[in-house]
């Protein structure tokens, strides 16, 4: 029998499931620069190369000297909250459902005024503050006024909590509990307060001590799931799909082979079967019901997390076919993100470098500890980002990739990482 708390949290089955609404999502191409930075957890504005003037809102030419040489640069966001107000009426459905809503105007030290949502922990204007960029439920950048000192979480504000995918109180599916990364993620989301964690187990005849240990977690349930088997994925989606708030895809097949080091395509096929087709099967089975529950109560479907690889950005030839399968998964994740976005379900991709596990044994350090990757997952869920490059190698690669992808291809091909 469910306890009193469980009954209080249970959904009233005769009420209509609330449908998701989104904040206004239209942005100009140039304004997407804000979103691109926010997707990585950064606040960036355009700065004029000629006169150094900081720009807001995003624009084509400099507000001071009309130069078109504007480049996006990270900002510290410091400034003064000039005034704030609390909206009590709104035409937009999204805000109408969530009133009251606090907003304000901040004079950035860079010399521009921005309109932003004000976090509940910020005192009355005027006061010193710090601007952060976050992704709203439409996946667009929104500016948030935070106190200058301290770092309160977005979850601590009742409205801004929706900008996160905080695992606290959520029901989470981790698709593969046999990898070290999958096990670390289960531990991390359990620690972060997940209400229930389903842990996928493929090939049950191959026992995993790490997975067995997870059975001791009170909120964990091991379920059969083999992402290479469409029937298995559909069956689990049928059983629990209507309850999953966050899906974390940890299923991964990793063999360290260059093209020349492995005859035939059997290994590459299996990598594709798990890393690419596995994601596709999960998407076809789980995404529709996640979208249908995007505004469900008391908890709603809110996020999809893929553990990809930094090798998805540029092929790492010693792991050539693995890189290709992760690139395929990355590409598919973009389609999935687009399909999830109208419901406000966020897709988060993690692009770790080599992980300290058996398949990256011969990779030189630095290697990412599975626990560190798991912490990055929780941080990403508690925050408001889409793309995460955890660890030094990933940070280094993504910087080189954004700077010059061709150069990265050559460097990786000729000199290892």
């Amino acid at each position: 029998m469910p306890g009193r708390a469980a009954r209080r949290r249970a959904k009233n089955p005769i009420l209509r499931t609330r449908q998701p609404t989104l904040p206004p999502a239209a942005r100009s191409r140039v304004a997407l620069g804000l979103t691109a930075a926010a997707a990585r957890g950064r606040f960036a504005l355009q700065v004029c190369r000629d006169c150094s003037a900081v720009q807001y809102p995003p624009r084509e030419v400099c507000r001071a000297c009309l130069s078109h040489r504007l480049i996006w640069q990270p900002q510290d966001g410091k400034g003064e909250l000039l005034t704030d107000t609390t909206l009590r009426t709104a035409q937009e459905l999204y805000f109408r459902e969530r009133l009251p809503w606090r907003t304000g105007i901040v004079r950035l030290d860079g010399g521009v005024n921005v309109v932003a949502y004000v976090h509940a922990s910020v005192g009355a204007a005027p006061c010193r503050v710090r601007i952060e960029a976050a992704l709203d439920r439409a996946g667009q950048a929104a500016l948030i006024v935070m106190p200058e000192q301290g770092r309160p979480g977005l979850s601590e504000d009742p409205n801004l909590r929706e900008f996160t995918c905080d695992p606290r109180g959520r029901k989470i599916l981790v698709t593969d509990g046999k990898t070290l990364v999958g096990q670390a993620i289960v531990q991390a989301v359990a620690k972060a307060g997940a209400d229930k964690i389903w842990i996928g187990e493929a090939e049950p005849w191959k026992k995993s001590a790490g997975l067995e240990a997870l059975r001791a977690l009170p909120q964990a349930v091991v379920v059969p799931l083999d992402v290479t088997d469409g029937g298995s994925v559909q069956e689990l989606a049928g059983e629990i799909g209507g309850k999953v708030d966050i899906l974390i895809n940890t299923a991964d097949h990793h063999r360290a082979f260059s093209i020349a080091a492995r005859r035939g395509v059997e290994t590459a096929q299996l990598e594709m079967e798990v890393n690419y087709f596995g994601l596709l099967r999960l998407a076809q089975a789980f995404a529709p019901v996640l979208k249908a529950r995007a505004a469900d109560e008391p908890t709603n479907a809110i996020a999809w997390v893929n553990v990809l690889s930094i090798f998805a950005l540029a092929n790492y030839p010693p792991h050539g076919t693995y890189s290709a399968s992760k690139a395929a998964a990355f590409s598919l994740s973009q389609a999935l993100r687009t399909e999830l976005r109208p419901a406000g379900v966020r897709l988060i991709n993690l692009f770790p470098g080599p992980i300290d596990d058996e398949w990256d044994q011969l990779e030189m350090p630095p290697k990412l500890a599975p626990a560190a990757l798991a912490n990055a997952v929780v941080t990403a869920l508690k925050g408001s980002v889409e793309d995460v490059y955890p660890g030094d190698v990933a940070q280094d690669w993504v910087a080189r990739h954004l700077d010059n992808p061709k150069a990265l291809e050559r460097e990786v091909g000729e000199g290892g990482r």
Binding site: P204, S232, L270
Partner: protein, 290 residues
Amino acid sequence: MKRAKKAVARKKVRRKTAVAKTRARPKKPNGRTAQLRTMAEAGGVHLVDLTQTLSPDFPPIVLPPDMGQSRPFRMEEISRYDERGPAWYWNNVSFGEHTGTHFDAPIHWISGRDLKNNTTDTIPVEHFIAPACVIDCSDEAAEDADFLLSVAHLKAWERRHGRIPAQSWVLMRTDWSKRNDPVAYQNLNKTGQHTPGPDPDCVRFLVNERDVLGFGTETIGTDAGQAAHFSPPYPCHYYMHGAGKYGLQCLCNLDRLPPTGSLIVAAPLKIRQGSGSPLRVFAIVPRVSG
């Protein structure tokens, strides 16, 4: 003209005589035909299906993860009376040659690689039906998962049921197929798989002294789970295939066969250069009269 007609007539006569001769001296029937006739005359037969159902849930062979892997059985729907094909239902299936209830051809093992007719497409069709000797090891296997069938066991069996005929299947009944849980069926632990099978001497005896057609088991291999540590490793594969003999594994319903007297129908798919194939195996079993 007349001479020509006469010649034709003579030829016809000769041909007739040839036919008559063949009829008068029919080819000696092979053992299978004779056995089928005996069965039919003695009160009929019934069929026993010895095949596990092919499904993604049936466990495939486990090899170390850095080795090449046999694909498990997988099925993807092409259409099911829907927009992809309004009036029909069908699937794409994929699997390794050695999946589910399957046949091992001699070329499967390195010892049989240079033999004649050693692949699924060249195996003589006469070999697809053969008598079976069923050795009941179910008690021993229940007691010891690593039970090994020995020459002593075979000789004890022969004392009760007669000599194992040449060109017959020897089927090792362990009731292993009754382990419906794939975990129990695989029976893996840190030291690998623990399933029953024949010991090396037993295989040498069956090949050299009895000239069997092949060896069949209810487990995932014709060899025991620990056979990698035998000398030679995987003796059943090594000796059987080295002598052009076959393997059948993942059989079921062996407990419904008599020790002798049944015929096994086991015809692998005709895959060019195939090393084996899943197949439907069944037994033709004489009805017990009285």
